[in-house]
């Protein structure tokens, strides 16, 4: 049984892959870790992954040793696909490969330089990406072990490697998996999504040298292919949730900014990409109230809450309480900025 704190026993009996990986890394009992790793390996095989244990990315690399690999699924569904680029190799002709490699590197650099974190697992885990997944595929996802990117459909969506914040979003799902866990449903799932958007945005702001005032606070700006007479600005807006797009094909951005408009339907795993607008907006409000660069104070407060305070079933009120508490370490201005931000969104 799982030994570590914050992990309800009944959860660890079910053990979906993302939790198994958590066990593989965090369990105090070496036998438990080994068994979890073994199970993951077999699940990987079941899911059509290349059956060789050395493909597994938990390499235990030293701090600052960046290891990236990019695979090409050649429009099929098998993961990881054919290895096309390893760490240190130069850019090639394939723009999706170049972007997946470069943006994974910028995400790694952000976590190391700003949060002092050594890759997504804080143990130097290799960053594996697969590009050209499936055909006309409008998505990017984190499968518990690696990032997967589609090329888009060429009509509504461009390729999903295009935006640094989208890649930062996916890798942050890895960070969450190895820390708070945040079950991917309802409020814990919306928090999981929100941390991915918050750090995705911070990674983009850090690379651009933005201040909280000059940042666009958009996720996936440029991913939607423009069309006359429609709003296809981005996937989400932390500044103004619900305004990122409005289009006959896509519908209107459904994100609420406050608890007043909380979505309680069953779609989207009970609204994980919808209600994430609420904590997203709280972060935006806190960061802009503090001013300066958002990764300097607001970012570390959220990071400490994610990595040390929250757990599998945390809800919005828990995230609000945790960040309010951590903010006290940063002085009166931070305490007030964070408190006001959550109050403004109804928490």
């Amino acid at each position: 049984m799982c030994q570590h704190a914050g992990c309800p026993p009944h959860v660890c009996f079910i053990i979906p892959p993302h939790m198994m990986e958590h066990v593989a890394t965090n369990a105090s009992d070496p036998t438990m870790r080994k068994r979890a790793l073994h199970n993951l390996y077999h699940q990987g095989q079941l899911r059509g992954m290349r059956a060789s244990m050395n493909q597994f990315a938990f390499a235990g690399l030293g701090t600052g040793t960046k290891q990236r690999t990019v695979y090409d699924a050649q429009h099929g569904g098998d993961l990881p696909g054919t290895l096309v680029r390893s760490e240190g190799q130069p850019d090639g002709q394939d723009v999706a490969v170049n972007e997946a490699y470069a943006y994974a590197g910028q995400t790694y650099d952000f976590y190391l330089e700003v949060m002092k974190r050594n890759s997504v697992d804080d143990k130097g885990m290799r960053l594996d990406s697969t590009v050209h997944y499936s055909t006309d595929y409008d998505n990017a996802f984190w499968n518990g072990q690696q990032m997967v990117y589609g090329d888009g459909d060429g009509e509504i969506f461009d390729r999903f490697t295009k935006c640094l914040d989208v890649i930062g979003h996916e890798l942050t799902h890895g960070v969450t998996q190895f820390t708070a866990g945040l079950t991917y449903s309802s409020q814990s799932g919306a928090l999981n999504e929100s941390f991915s958007d918050v750090f995705g945005s911070l990674i983009k702001q850090y690379a651009a040298g933005d201040t909280a005032d000059t940042a666009d606070w958009l996720i996936g700006e440029g991913l939607l292919i423009p069309k006359a007479g429609t709003n296809r600005t981005a996937l989400r807006s932390l500044k103004a949730p619900g305004t990122a797009y409005d289009d006959p094909t896509l519908g209107k951005d459904p994100q609420p900014a406050t608890m007043k408009d909380y979505y309680s339907g069953p779609d989207d795993n009970y609204g994980v990409h919808i209600n994430s607008g609420i904590p997203n907006h709280a972060f935006y409000l806190a960061a802009t109230a503090l001013g300066g660069q958002a990764w300097e104070t607001a970012g570390p407060i959220w990071y400490e809450a994610l990595t040390t305070r929250l757990q599998l079933w945390s809800e919005f009120k828990d995230a609000a309480a945790a960040t309010r508490d951590v903010a006290r370490k940063y002085g009166d201005a931070a305490t007030k900025a964070v408190d006001d931000a959550w109050t403004a969104v109804g928490l």
Partner: protein
Amino acid sequence: MSTDQTPAPPVLIECQRQGGMAFPLRRPKISVEVAGLDAADRQALLHLVQAADLASQPAAFPAPGHPDALETQLTVAWPDHSTTVHFRDGDGHPAPLDELAGWVLRHKR
């Protein structure tokens, strides 16, 4: 009555997607009526339906809960019955299900 040994062809294929990092809300259901297809398209679709083999698939694959996984619901209707399967990214579903879903979605654009 037909003397042909091959089973009756499907009459309707429906596909609906939701979720993923870009699509929180359920997207419109896309339907393709087999009768409306030209011979080449119909042939291509019948091959894909055969390869997808819906009758042998579970109604839903166990969802591993990967962040941002896209969820697809695929229905094939024959004259006297229909079969629906649900699958998500990374749940181990066979690739021909993706190929059939992709064809239906592309065909309607």
